[in-house]
Structures are given as C-alpha cells and as structure tokens.
C-alpha cells in the first residue's frame, strides 16, 4: 500500500493517495488498544448539512463524539495537518455517532464524502 501511495503522489493523484492513506490508518488504528476511560470527551453536532458551532477547546488526547442529528446519512472524513485523510467508517446513519481521538496539535478539516458542502475546521493547540 505504501508503494501505491508513493505511486499516487508521483502521479499527482492526490485524492486516491489520500484515501489510501485513510485506509491504511484505519487498519492500523483499529489494532490500537482502547483509549483510557478518563480522557475528556466533547460532542460535535452534525445537523443536516453543517456542523453546529462548538464551544469546547479540544486538546491532544481528547475524545470527540460526532453525532448525526440529521435525517440523512453522512460519511465524515478528517484531513490531518499533514494531508492524510481518515474516513470515520463508511456511513453514519441518522442518530448514530462516531468517536475520534485528537492525535496531535494542528488544524483538522472535517468534511463529508457524500455532501461536499459540509466543511468545518478545528484548531488544536499544543499542550
């Protein structure tokens, strides 16, 4: 897969490369041990076509629950500060939530594969 990623970069096929990155991250991360229970947890609300403004200040290691309160399906992905892309599961049905842990400081971009209009940026300051 890494060879394919490099090929993707060489060919300038950024989107394919990014998604392959996401797939790799998915595989690796799924093998990680569970997060300690005591980490702070915040909630992001995904209404119909937008993330509602949040009032928490995310820190490295915090858990963020993304809740789909709309009546349509979403497929959220996060672009990391280095350009890597992580898809949070294939689809998120109405009423469902996914949990993501902030891995490092930097700016994260939240988007939806199904609805490109959904777009939110989160800045995480260093500790």
């Amino acid at each position: 897969m890494i060879r394919n990623m490099k090929e993707g970069i060489r060919r300038g096929n950024l989107l394919v490369m990014q998604v392959m990155t996401a797939c790799m991250l998915t595989v690796l991360c799924a093998m990680q041990p569970a997060q300690a229970e005591g980490a702070p947890q915040h909630r992001m609300i995904l209404s119909h076509h937008e993330f509602e403004p949040w009032d928490f200040t995310p820190k490295v290691g915090d858990r963020i629950e993304i809740v789909n309160t709309s009546d349509i399906v979403h497929s959220i992905y996060i672009t990391y500060p280095d350009g890597a892309v992580l898809t949070l599961g294939d689809v998120q049905l109405p009423g469902q939530s996914v949990i993501w842990e902030v891995p490092a400081a930097g700016e994260y971009l939240f988007k939806c594969w199904i609805h490109p209009v959904i777009n939110a940026r989160m800045q995480v300051q260093p500790d």
């Binding site: 989107l15 394919v16 998604v19 392959m20 797939c23 991250l25 998915t26 690796l28 991360c29 799924a30 990680q32 041990p33 569970a34 997060q35 076509h49 858990r63 809740v67 789909n68 309160t69 709309s70 009546d71 349509i72 399906v73 497929s75 992580l86 898809t87 949070l88 599961g89 294939d90 689809v91 998120q92 049905l93 109405p94 009423g95 469902q96 939530s97 996914v98 949990i99 993501w100 842990e101 891995p103 490092a104 594969w113 199904i114 609805h115 490109p116 209009v117």
Partner: protein, 331 residues
C-alpha cells in the same frame, strides 16, 4: 511511530436515539439568492467575465480548432448538448452526459464524480481531455499569445497582458458564474404570486417535499445539495467510487439541479432516461438494491395523478432559455 498516536475509536457506531424528524420544508427554503458568489482568490468582475465569454466561445481552445466550450455547453440547449453520448464520446467507455453549466457559481463540487473542487480547477479538464478539446495547456497558452487581440482583454481583466493558465481558468470560471437561470414560475410563487403555478404543481411541490421526499437531496434554490449517491442505475461506471474507494461512493454521482430541465432529457449521468415519468418511476422502484445504494433511496408509490402533479411541479422550475449572444472573437 507517529501513527501510534492516531488512536481512533473506529467502528463505534453507536445509536444514540437522537435522530430528529425532518422539519416541514416550505417554499421559502427555495428562495433565489440575491448575489452571485465568487471566491476571494478570483472575485467576479465584468472584465474577467467578458474575457471568459470570448474564451468560452472560442474554438481555438481545442487542438483542431473545431470545438469550443459552447459546442457542448450550448446556450440553445440549456447550456448542455442534449446528446447521449456526448460529442466525441461515441467510443468512450462509461461516457457521461454533458451537465449544464447554469448556476455553477454555487457548486460545491464539479464534474459528475466531484473530482474538481472549483470552477477554476474544472476549466482545464475539458480542454485537456482527449475526446473533448484534446489540447494541452502550454500549447494553448502559446496559441493565445499569438492572437494579438486577446492581449488588451487580458490587460483589462488582470492589469497587464500576460496570458497564463491561471488567468485563462479564472476568466472562464468568471464567465460561467454569470450564467444564472432565469426566474421561473416557481420563483414567482415563492415570492407570493399564488397564480404563478397551477394547483397540480402545488400538489406536486407537496409530494416533492413530502411523500416522494425528493427534497432529501434536491434542496436549495438550485434543487440540489451537490451530494453524491448511488441511485441504483445499471450503469457499470463506478462514478465517485473510482476516486473515493469506500462503499457508499461506488456508482455514486452528483445530484443534478432540477432547474431548466430539457423537455426530453436525456436524464441521469448516463443519459439513460428520456422522460420525467421514467425518472420518477425509477425512484418509486428504488433501483438496484446493493450495498452502495444510497440510504435515501426509499421506494414509494405514486398514483398516476400524483406522478403527473410531480411532473407539473418540475415544469415550474423552467425559466426558459438563458440567451447569451456569442461574442466577437479577438483576431
């Protein structure tokens, strides 16, 4: 390894029971915007739009000087071509219908599979596609530099006569942003003119936003949210799935606008349908059931009268041809 820090609770799809019922959608949700948006990196100006119009209609943007943007996005064909397959795509696998460029100023993703994120990025693609204009940008720029008459128009639009790829795409994008659907009977109804559309069309609007739930994706004044879905067509084209290899994007294509639809189609990304009744019946049926099919594809049944009401409503979204006179091309 830094990936070790990317601890992710993937797969924790937890039903939390807070899904909310959709609010009733009223006609006000479809009100036309007052202004045309443009990005800060390419603010819309009359000079850029005028230059872009010349470029849009100029066949010298194609390698053999026979095809302009307007060849396939023709003003008299609702800024599409009415063809399936598109011109030059007769032998192209998975050829896709030519979409209209009307109202593209508001698009969040371009091309049927969303592979272009802006009008500026999209502008290059048809120019360099082999079965379309079949040119390359360095050769095109060199050709344009040889046309003396273009230089003052670039100077008027950008401050000097330099002809660059960025300026060509910005001008083309600017002209396309000016292509906005004419006000339709539906718009007059939104503004309060109760006589603007028929009783059947009003009933169709209720079906559109209710029982048939077309509004799930065909929302906003453009009647699309630019979302991508597999709607269960039999086309083998993987669509957005070719670029985004996750299940819901397989066979997924962008939701098209419903404004100014051509009377006889063709409809759908593959141009496989030629009447609105056929399209509506497809949604009633739900299409091919497979893992990638959109969860928004929920079969329903209309009576003949309801189906006709829905068609009557869709006809109220037609503002008539947007007439633009072809410009005189620089020499």
């Amino acid at each position: 390894m830094r990936l070790g820090g990317l601890l992710l609770m993937l797969g924790l799809l937890v039903p939390v029971g807070i899904g909310q019922a959709a609010d009733p959608v009223t006609r006000e949700a479809f009100r036309r915007p007052a202004d045309i948006p443009s990005p800060p990196s390419n603010p819309l100006t009359a000079e850029k739009a005028a230059l872009g119009k010349m470029l849009f209609f100029d066949p010298r943007l194609s390698r053999d000087r026979t095809m302009s943007c307007a060849t396939c996005h023709a003003p008299d064909k609702r800024w599409s071509d009415g063809r399936m397959p598109p011109l030059g795509a007769e032998h192209v696998a998975n050829a896709r219908r030519t979409p209209t460029v009307l109202n593209s100023a508001w698009l969040n993703a371009l091309m049927w599979d969303g592979r272009a994120a802006s009008l500026e990025a999209q502008a290059m693609l048809p120019i360099t596609t082999p079965h379309e204009m079949n040119f390359d940008m360095p050769a095109l720029l060199e050709r344009l530099r040889q046309i003396e008459g273009y230089r003052p128009h670039f100077a008027g639009a950008f401050g000097d006569g330099t002809i660059s790829q960025e300026r060509v795409t910005q001008a083309l994008a600017s002209f396309q942003r000016t292509l906005v659907s004419n006000a339709a009977p539906f718009d007059r109804w939104v503004e309060g003119d109760e006589s603007a559309i028929s009783a059947s069309a009003k009933r169709g609007f209720c079906l559109f936003t209710g029982k048939a739930n077309c509004v799930s994706c065909h929302k906003s004044w453009r009647f699309t949210d630019d979302s991508f879905h597999d709607i269960g067509l039999s086309s083998p084209d993987p669509g957005r799935g070719a670029h985004v290899p996750i299940t819901p994007m397989q066979f997924a294509f962008k939701t098209p606008s419903l404004r100014d639809l051509p009377i006889t189609g063709p409809y759908m990304h593959d141009g496989s349908m030629f009447s609105l009744e056929e399209v509506i019946r497809h949604y009633e049926d739900g299409g091919i059931a497979r893992k990638s099919r959109s969860a928004e594809m929920k079969p329903f049944q209309l009576t003949d009268e309801e189906r006709q009401a829905l068609i009557d409503f869709l006809r109220t979204l037609d503002g008539g041809p947007l007439v633009v006179e072809a410009p005189r091309l620089p020499e």
